[in-house]
Symmetry: C2
Subunit: 405 residues, 2 copies
Amino acid sequence: MSAEKFLSAGARAMRSSLIRQLTGLVNRPDVISFAAGSPNAATFPHERFTEIYNDLTARERGRIFQYSVTRGNAQLIHAVCGRSREIKSIAASPEETILLSGSQQGLDFVGRVLLDPGDAVFVEMPSFIGATAAFANLGARLFGVNCDEDGMDIDHLARQAASARKQGLTPKFAYVIPNFQNPSGRVWSPARRRELYALAARENFLVFEDDAYGELYFDDAAPADLLPVKALDEDDRVIYMSTFSKILAPGLRVAWIHGPEAIVRRIEFCKETGDLCTATLSQRIVLEFLRRGEMPAQTDRVRAFYTGKAAKMRAAAAAHFDGLAQWTRPRGGLFLWLRLFAAIDTLPLLRESVERDKVAFIPGAPFFVDGSGSNALRLSFSNVSDENIEIGISRLSRRVRERRP
Amino acid sequence: MSAEKFLSAGARAMRSSLIRQLTGLVNRPDVISFAAGSPNAATFPHERFTEIYNDLTARERGRIFQYSVTRGNAQLIHAVCGRSREIKSIAASPEETILLSGSQQGLDFVGRVLLDPGDAVFVEMPSFIGATAAFANLGARLFGVNCDEDGMDIDHLARQAASARKQGLTPKFAYVIPNFQNPSGRVWSPARRRELYALAARENFLVFEDDAYGELYFDDAAPADLLPVKALDEDDRVIYMSTFSKILAPGLRVAWIHGPEAIVRRIEFCKETGDLCTATLSQRIVLEFLRRGEMPAQTDRVRAFYTGKAAKMRAAAAAHFDGLAQWTRPRGGLFLWLRLFAAIDTLPLLRESVERDKVAFIPGAPFFVDGSGSNALRLSFSNVSDENIEIGISRLSRRVRERRP
């Protein structure tokens, strides 16, 4: 019997993302991979985690392996709200806050709470594939919005919103990553953040702000221009999401959302039937880490690590790609985005680069909901040694030079 | 601004389950609670977990806090398939298997992969609320099927399937918990399992079998009559789910599904946009526990623990409820199901019982999709001390006696 005929309409339309399909190609151990977007395991404070784990089990025995409440550990919610107030100028109460099993779960649940099939969502071009795939799986209509160095082109966003309404679709939200975006590394200017908020208010849609990378700035002190859109929110219009994945460790699967109470309550309903609760041990490790006051030193260490990697990457790009491409100068995060001057499709380039040079990256097109971006590519410097950054970028530039028409 | 108006149709229809709403009432520390369905933390092998944790971090350092693959740790999948072959007579390949962040996630994902709004799902009366809520949240039409001591009334199931088709609805699956069901504690007879499979084949719908409690039998050796429906499956018709929550610890959030490859692949797509991966540390702890050969001794300990509790519970019920109610004699699991002879609504009874006797349970009606069962109640013996089992059941019987018309 074929089980295919029992699938829901949604399941029939589901696709694995191209990045996932490339996993086998880009994760070969002999390949210098700028593809993996994961944080570097050397930044995970495993020794502290081990101290904490042993203290917790000595004190609480089996209880840290019991179910926890769906909304998330109340003390951790309290601590997260305090941190958001302190370092992000976000005033969110525990009632406006929920913990999630990683921010991918937040993308899915926010989508489920807000989106009926055919609803319009506005996304940056390029945008994060995990987000566009989650919204598309729920039947959303994705409208790509042009971007420049300062963020979304707000006039284009307005035109896309008008176009959606003209087609009879309901604009529900704009999904944006204003700080060190995956994949572009771009930072939105404060003016653009204000303009986005103003347009959303005028056109009456929500803003879904993903701040996964906001603490990974390369400056010595937090730059003032990273203040989230949520800090401007006077009208319960912004859903803000961030995660411990990049500043602590992604395998813990702990993220959080601050948003309007009515939406957060529905996210909790989703989570109640979606996974009941986030892993209890993970929540307790994070809580204890915060309680012990370890986070400032930890984020300093993580920032120093990526600041060094990014400097190597920028130097290698300057040495080898001058005249071949333009690229972002990331001020934080894990990514550098490179657009080739020549019309070279980076998907076949990837296959060639892996086979012949043993160098991997992610082709640009999947990040664009309008199918453009085929001459772009995403380079992550997170998991590549300093030496291999230079070797890999040099080989890649040679390959591009050779492939120029 | 009210965020309510942005909610999806699905979110507007979402409800928190009655059990969740009762949480505040039944979890008061001064109350003897037969309400909590969670396993007892005394059964969690936290000392072994701690040894394993320290070995793992010494060897692998930060890497056990990295992302893992969406399908689940390949070695753990392999080990789970081996266990299912050995103790459940289930022949499932790794391609037919996926790990999940707890079986509640499996309920949600199987629902999303199979159900379009209005599709028919057949459930036992009573059935597990976490399942019926997940399917209802996805817009399924739930058809309750009468049950007796041996499981579902298969003739009634056939009539319900006919009734669904007559209404123009597509029967997608029957959701069943044949071993030590939550809430009834009931075990299906082997004949009923065969009849269910045969009817599903004839009427062409799937079977979704939830075996969360199957290893918690009170006999010395595994009773032959617990063999899952999946062991009969010659036609890729059965989706089988089980979990480490009851035999190891629920806070780890690790469960698994064996099912048709086409369905498991779509569940993987769901998980890719749903939570990316299950907590890495949890998967590694479970894998190492299995590798060290600890599971047989652990399940023996867990079984001994609940066998003792259940015996106390049965003795207390016999001493106090004779003539007042009929109840199941559980041969395994965590629950005893009690149906009062008098027409007493157990929801107001609960409030009275908590306020005046400090004894809590779960009222029966929420477990019935047709709204019946108001004179029934679920009693869990998992988290009550032996002494309090006797005290609590005695008080409850007095309250029932007093309330009799």
